[in-house]
Every structure is written in C-alpha cells, then in structure tokens.
Symmetry: D2
Subunit: 333 residues, 4 copies
C-alpha cells in the first residue's frame, strides 16, 4: 500500500479514455480543436479571460512562467522549501537565464506578506545585489498547508508594493480549492496572481499540466518559450484531452476531495503525532525509526522526511480500505 | 486526406493499449520497471551497451544530446535546413547555453565529409571565432533522403579528424533503417555516432521519444539535464510503455515500412515532378499553385514548401486507398 | 611599420594624462564625478538626452546592448561578416541568453533596407522559427565602408516596419562621422538607432568604450547587466577620464581624421587594386602572395585577408612617413 | 579621510608609469610580450607551472573560474556572505549558465571542512536536487579574517572527499599572504586550490586583476570564455604591465603590509569594540549611530554595515596621519 507520492498514482480511467478518443489524425502541435478549446474552458473556470497552455510537467509549467515573470538578472522570492528550490534541479535558473531564487523561511513552507516585505527590505537597492522581480508561492504548500484566498490576496498586495510579478505553483491547487472552499478565481487572479501552474498529474492526469496566464499579454512569449524548451509536443490534442476530461463535471474536484478526505482519516488517527496541520493530501507524522519500520513491515510505503519524521501522501484513488488500514496502523503505534 | 505531416498521425493502437496497461501505481519518474528496462531493450537492439532515456519531444532529445556534446562556447555543425536550425525555435542555443549552429549547405539537407572538412577549415583557430565541437546530422533528412551506413561512417571519420562529437537526429530513423537495410548499429555507433535522438512519435508513438547514448559515460549528466529541462515526467512508466510496445516484434519497423511504401507509391506517380529522390516517407513535388489548388480541391492536405513546391508526408497508418487516390491525382495533373 | 590593426595602436597621450590626473581616491564604480558627467557630455554631443556607460571592450558594449534589445528567444539580424558574428566568440549568444544571429549578405558588409526586408520575409511567423527582434549594423563597416545618415535612416524605417530594435556597432563611429560629415545625431538616433556602441579604443583610447542609450528607459537594465557581466570596474573614474579626454576639443574627430587621411593616401596608391571603396581607415587590396611577401620584406605588417587579399588599417598616430612609404611600396608593386 | 573601501583608492604610481611605458604599438589582445610573460612571472611566484590571465574585474576573475569549475547544472558551495553571493549581481549564475550558489554559514565569512561536509551531506543524491560541484572561499574573507595554509588545506581535503573543484577569491590575497606569512603556493595549490582570483585593484592596481589556473588544462577554455564575456581587451599589454609592476620587487606585498599595518593601528584603538579579529585590512567596529555620526563629523568616511556596526577599510596608500587620526578618534569615542 503506497503512500509515497501522488506523483506515482494511476491516471483516472476517464483520462485514458479521453486519450484513446482523441487518437486520430488532427492538426499537429496545439492547432487541434481540443487544444484550441483550453482558453475557453479555463476562462470559464476562472471567470475571466485567460490564456491556457498544456505543458508536460509541473517543472515546465513553473519555470516557463518564472522565465516570463523574471528577467535573468532578477530574483524570485520563494520559500526555502519550495519545490522550485529543492526539487527541480535548478530548472528556474535554467529556464529564466540565471535568475536567482531568494529564499525565505516560514512554518509549513508558507510565506506571509511580512516575510516578503522583510526579504525585499534586506536587499540593498543597487546594481551589486540581485533585485527581486517576482514572488512564487505553492498552494497547497509542500507541507500540505493551504493559503486561503485572503492570505493569497495579502501576498498579492505585497507584490504590488514591491513591483513583483506573482506566480503560484498549483501542483496541488485542486486540494487547496477543495480545502479552502474558495473559488479558483478568488484563490488566484483576484488575489493578484499573474500566472498559475495548474496541476493535473498528481490528481488523476497522465502527463499534462496546464500553465494559466491571467496576464494574457504574456501568451505569445510563453508560446515561444514552450517550444524552445521542447515542451510543444506534436500530438497536443492528447494532452488537451486529459485536461478537459478532468475539468468535465468537476472530476478534478472530486479527485481532490477523495484525496483530502483520505488524508483527514489518517490525520485523525495520527493525532498528536502530526507535525503540520493536515489541510490537503499530505500528512507529516512524528515516528521513530522503529515505528517507521513496523509500519513498513505491515506493507505501507512512505517517505522518510527527516529524523523521526515520515510523510504520507494520499491520492485520488486511495479511498477506502488501504487508508483505513493505515489509519489503524498509525493509531496502534 | 492529410499528407501534411507524420507528426499529426494517430498513435498505434498497441501504444494506447500499452499506456492503459501501465496505468497503475508504480514508482515515480523513471524508477519503474518499464523505464528501468529501456537500457536493456535498446542495448539489444543496438548490439552494444547503451543508456536510453525517454523524453517527451524530439526537440528535447536533440537538444539534451547537443548540450552534453557541445559546451556553450562551442559550435555545432549542421545543415542549414536541419530541424535544429529551422524548426526548434532556437532550442539548441537554449539547452546548450548559447552554443552556435554552424551552417553547411548540401543537396537534400545532406552533409558530406567534404562539406564538414570545409566548414571546419573556414574557422580561424583563435579565441575570436567560435570553434566547432560537434556535428549533428538528420537521418532520414528533412528532405526525405537517407544516409547509408557508409555515408554516416565517412562523417564519423570526419568527426574524429576534427575532434567533434557526433549527434544524429533520428526523428525518422525507422524510415532510414528500413530504407537502407542497414542495422541500427551500423547506422549509428559503429559509424561513430555518440548520441542518437530515436524518434517514435512520427512512427506510431504518442508522446515518447528516446535519447540513446552510445557514450554511456554521459548518462549521469543527461539524467540531470533532462530533469532540469522539465522533461522528467512523474509517470514515466507510460512513456517507457509506448517505446517498448513499438520495439516489440519490430512494430516500429513495420510502421516505417508501411509509410515508406506509401511514399514510393506516390513517388512513382510523381515521376519527373520529384525534387528529391524519395528514400523515406517524404515526397517533394513540383506543382504550380493551380495544381496545388486542384489537389486541395480533391481533398488532399499538404504543405506548400516553396514557390511551385509542395510536400507530402506519409504515415504508418496511411496505406491503401488514400495513398492510391493521391497517386492517381498527382499522375492526373 | 604596422598596419595590422588600429586595435594595437598606442593610446593618445592626452588619454594617459587624463588617467594619471584622475588617479586619486574617489567614489568607487561609477559614482565619481567623471563617470557622472558622461550622460551630460554625450547628451550634448548627440543633441538629445542620452544615458552613457563606460564599458571595457567593444564586445561588451555590443553585447550588453543586444541583450537589452533582444530577448533570448529572439533573433538579431546582422551582416554575415559582422564583428558580432565572426569575431566575438559567440558573445551575443552568451550575453543575450542564447539569442540567434540571423545572417544577411551584402557587399562590403553593408545591409540595406531591402536585405533586411528580405531576411524578415523569409521567417515563418510561427513558434517553430526564431523571430527577429533586433537589427545590428556596423558603421563604419568591417570592410571600411560607411553608412550615410540617409542609409541609416532607411534601415531605421525598416526596423519600424518590422518592430525591430536597432543597434549600431560604432567601433569606428568616429571614422564614419568624419567620412560622412554627418552629425553624430543624424547618424544615430535621428535615423532610428536605439543603442550605440561608441568606440574609443581604436581611436586613441586605452581601455574604455562607451555604450550610449538613446532609449534612456533601458539604462537601469543596462546598469545591472554591466555589473553582472563583470564590466563595472571599481576605479571607474579612470575610464570616464579617457572618454572625456577624447571628447574634449573634438580630439576623437581629429584622431579619426588623421587615420582616414592616411587611408586615403594608401588608397590613392593602390588604385585598381582596391577591393572596396576606402571610406574610413581600412584598405583592402588585391595582392598576390609574392607581392604580400615583398611588402613584408620591406617592413610592413598587415593582415592576410583571403586568397590574394590583404588588409591595412591606419591608426590615429600613423600620419606622415610610414604611410607615405607604404603608399610608395604599394604603387611600386 | 576615506576609509570606505580599498576599491576607491588611487593606483600606485608605479602602475601608472608602467601603463605609460607600455603605451606603444604592439600586438593586440594578449599577444604582446608583457602579456606573454605573465605565465612565467606567476609560475615563479607560485613555484609551479601555472597559466595566468589578466581580466578586468574581480567579478570576471571569479566567475570565469567558476564557469570552468562548475557545470550549469551544478552547485557552488560558498559562504552566505561571500562576495560572489552578495555583491556580484548574480554574475556566477550568468557566467556559469545558471549554476547555483549553495550557501553555508560560519563566523566571519569563513567556512570549515565541517561546514562543507555538512552542506554536502544535506543534499539528496538524486537528479531532483542540484549537486555541488565546486567550493569557493574568499581569502582574506569579506570580514577581514584570513585562512591559514592549514585551514585552506583542510578545505582542500574536503573538496577531494566530495569531488568538488576548488576556487579561491583572492581579491585581498595579498593581505592574507602578509597576514599569515604563508607562501602563495602554500595558501593555494599546495592546499588543493584549482583556480585563484588574484586581486590587484584593491592593492595598488588600476584595472587589472589576474586569474591563475593551477590546473593548466583549463587554460584553453578560460581563454575562450574570457573573450566571450568581453574581457579580452585589445591593448592587453597595459593590463599585464600593471600586474608586472606590482609583482616587481614584491611591491604587492609592500602595499598589503602597509594596509594591514594601518588596520592594526585602528584595531588597537578599537579594542573591545571590534566585532571580528582584524587579520587583514578591514575593521568592523561596534558604534552607535551617534558615535558614527560624530566620526563622520570629524571627517571620516566609512560604511554603515548594520545596526550599530560600521566598517573601515584601509588601503595601500593610507599609512601615517589619517590612520593615526582615525585611531585617536575611535579611542576617544
């Protein structure tokens, strides 16, 4: 029973079916009807005109956005535990021509307007120091916390104060939407977000993520950068098909609801052992090496996060028995 | 009836089935059993130890290879009509840190050892001029010609003479293998090729290409560069599955045979109109604007290549009627 | 007697004196009084508000300008024999994040509006091909020709037509100003030039060139890029001092007049042997290998340009005897 | 009386004279006799064969070295207060193709083998995290401390353990040599250093620094990178002349001795107010805003380093009265 990562889960059957259905000759790249319909689909979802691009990975979505939002000589403020800092092999520096990540600390991988203000304040305003040009946050965060719409808006105001562009890594946006109950619009552009990496792969998708531009004037540049980075696949309809299948009838929200609910079940069992509040689909638990070993002996697979810390991640397809078994096993430690 | 590009064709049903079959929870990235088996599968095919990576597009395969084969301050000799020069949005410069393409002319997008010698000879050996560090050829070429094993070997000797690394863009390698009758080994590493972009998407694949390293010591660097470029997708098994499905029972060769045969049918009909010898699955035909219009009126879709030049590309799934109809239509012009 | 390159000449004594005079403790970088006065000095010279930066080499001036005028995913149209293409070791690709030089031919390394129109016209307007974003010309050209103010203006109109930014490599701007009789303003911003590399080192300077921005809103970016490229030297006053010494009493024009006059003397002697019209301080002469050898035997040093082609370059300090001797020697061939 | 920075001091008269002396026509770039003699001069100084390059700034020396010692996808371990991190506008990321600085803390901007071991240990050995490939230290440090030969050697051993290349920023190497009494060889290559930025500009030079390669096989690459970054000035002899003038009769050591002695005079006066041990030519002093103001009112110029912290830097030409006056003023606070 794997609780290692939602990355590793199966794609939803509707996604596989959508791929099969779109498997016919059509215009290459993103000239097909499905790809062409993404702008409209996401514009409806976000209640405003957006430009939407399928890309093949979250790293690509994040770093294409950052490249458009920050010049190579600028800095991107982010949490020190942000995925772009610790898990993307330096891709922001690659895509954004050497741009520098400027690291900020804060509990649960969350930033606050105050911490952004402080980070900006520490930089001398001269040509010798890299000047921040963008802010990037992750919602839900790398520790399974969520930003409310008000929290994002507070950060959005900070970006206005400091003339920063604003990127959100929404690899687990679905979990954040379900958890906060906020609308996608309130969690993003109404709060000041300029570009969003909208994750599908951890939530039932196969290999298509979306990059959403609320500043639509960036679209031409992103289209070129996507091609230039080798992310303009020729059979694009089969990426668009996945995304549309997940948007249809809010399947993406159902999937996230299922993962979040599974996480709550485990969280309830973990009780005092929880390191962070469980607000999405990640559960960080205090457990000795012996306890971790005993859980593994019972057939559970998970990540050793640090000394006496383990991480479980639930997926869209993990409701029911395995979750209950894990909850019971943790409760019995 | 579309003869626009093999890029736009459907994936082979076996590929879709393989994806569906691999759609279960497994280790993420390329830690799964299918991804792990690629080295062995390609080592058998190439009759030597190779390292094989799935990547998501041909541009990524080409440019990751070039980044490992040429420093940013070096030059890559290629044909002036090479895909990396005219159709990848400057991706070689992006992936390879500003490396410069050094363009060489030659009929049918083919290079010869002589043209490579001449290109090297024109460069002053000083720090003011970019020094060539790599050679990249495309087989089959962008004009549907093929390099024989002997021709590749002759270029391989040129690379030795000039201390160049050697890359082959094999977006249509299958068509070249079928056309020449040479073994994959003879067409590549035995002829001196260091790294190969092995195309599947134009030949029945969905969204997985392979990057093959004959110099296996480059594998660690390529693995990092792939991640850093956002090309390490999390559900990697579904990329590996596609490739393995096409390798199984030589389906990739059957597909290419079908496309090449269709091209021959059309070539025979075109006769004197042919601009280049038809050796793979592309047919370049002289036709006036009026003739092109009349073909379009009959329902054929194709690319206007230049003044009075049109291009047809056949695909693995285009045997039979549409091809015969096109042949007849061309013959009737 | 060296006619190899104006690069190798001595600095004017006034420049050395100015360095010595500025050799006292002052604010570092460009905070000193001399550096701060450059904007005003060049604004007067160009009869408009400009921003002026000292930089240490012409390559830096050119490539910092290009980096601000062309995004990494764009193209820079230039002559195939432009210094930025053949003599800067790929620096444009380095400074401008992989931007691509798009080469145009034309006699004497000169471009025309027609050739720029044609170059733009050849590019497909899609994401697969690099789109031109800037034009760079050299005045005087690498073959010693000059663009008149009208010719620059014609190119400036072409840049407007195609939404290109416009850079001028003025490594030998002084020679062009003297040769055309045009004002610096007419040769540059009034003709549409956005940024100018203003050469001093070939014309009596020691190690300071100037980068002039007619679009002053680019100044902040250039200031950062200069630092980031290691071109913000700490004792900046001694760079500014050189430039101001050459501007004072039009010493820069006197120097260029001297070099141009020397070139005319040699050109008159060469007569029919001239390959290009001599309009600045470079003389390209047809001469057999034997003739070249005989000139060398007489003590003249110069560059073998190609088969039966040799190049002489005159410098600000080369009036009088050596020039007369060379003229006589050429006439006697 | 300025104690703001050694950056701003005058050049030594011998340097100006050397420039004037070399101001004659000679081979351009680094083909002249002076430039050609640098390898020998530094090889003698370092008691081993080295390759030496003049460059125009310390940022260029540092970042050219780092570009050769670390691939773009790698990391460079350095102190969080290192000049390359806080004062070079992101130049390491620019020169080294996006390479990432991996920051380590430690008192006085010094690293220890233990802190390097710990930094390496924190990195997961996978493709998702940037892997360290180089170590860079500054000697004397940004806080005026020095590494002894033994301390450098201990770090050198750490680099061997972790397969890191080893760079030393010696912007104030002279001060460290004088302070430790160690030989240049013992402080650098005998302790494992691969490449050294050898500072002259803060120590009596005008605008020439040296980049010393102990791994001479890197020389060809550095030569190209220097040109490509616009740091191959055409009148190179006047850079080499400066360096040779400072090496002659150990003028560079005399200069550093003078600056260090001045710093000791001030340090003795500061006594308990010292924040760091004064081992080179920088003095960090605790002083209230009112005390700082009173010093300024007496005519002293210096840097406000932080709350209640001020920094003085002494220069080669600052012996005698101003130093005694400052010492007295501090003692009188």
């Amino acid at each position: 029973m794997r609780f290692f990562s939602d990355n590793a889960a199966a794609a939803h059957p509707a996604v596989i079916e959508a791929i099969a259905r779109s498997n016919h000759l059509d215009t290459a790249y993103d000239g097909d009807a499905l790809s062409q319909s993404l702008d409209r689909a996401f514009s409806e979802l976000f209640e405003t005109d957006v430009r939407a691009f399928w890309v093949l990975t979250g790293t690509a979505a994040n770093c294409l956005a950052l490249a458009a939002l920050c010049p190579g000589y600028g800095g991107i403020i982010c949490h020190k535990d942000a995925h772009i800092e610790v898990d993307e092999a330096g891709a922001p520096g690659f895509f954004a021509d050497g741009a520098k990540l400027m690291l900020v600390d804060g509990p649960g991988a969350k930033l606050s307007a105050e911490s952004v203000d402080a980070a900006v304040g520490e930089v001398r305003k001269d040509v010798h120091q890299v000047q921040p040009k963008a802010l990037s946050i992750t919602n839900a965060t790398e520790y399974g916390l969520v930003y409310s719409a008000a929290e994002v808006a507070s950060l959005g105001e900070a970006t206005k104060r400091h003339s920063l562009n604003f990127h959100m890594d929404g690899a687990r946006l679905a979990n954040a939407v379900v958890s906060t109950g906020a609308s996608p619009a309130d969690l993003t552009w109404r709060a000041g977000v300029d570009a969003l990496s909208f994750g599908f792969v951890k939530n039932g998708g196969l290999n298509a993520e979306a990059l959403i531009l609320f500043r639509t004037e960036l679209a031409d540049e992103i289209a070129v950068r996507r091609k230039r980075a080798g992310h303009l696949a020729s059979k694009g309809r089969m990426f668009a098909a996945q995304i549309l299948a997940l948007l249809e009838n809010d399947l993406w929200l159902d999937n996230a609801r299922s993962a979040n609910a599974a996480a709550q079940t485990i969280a309830n069992a973990a009780g005092e052992r929880l390191i962070y509040s469980v607000e999405a689909n990640e559960i960080f638990v205090r457990a000795t090496a012996a306890e971790a070993e005993s859980l593994r002996a019972e057939g559970f697979d998970f990540y050793d996060w640090g000394p006496d810390e383990i991480r479980f991640v639930t997926s869209w397809d993990q409701g029911g028995e395995p979750v209950d078994q894990l909850a019971a096993a943790i409760a019995a430690l």
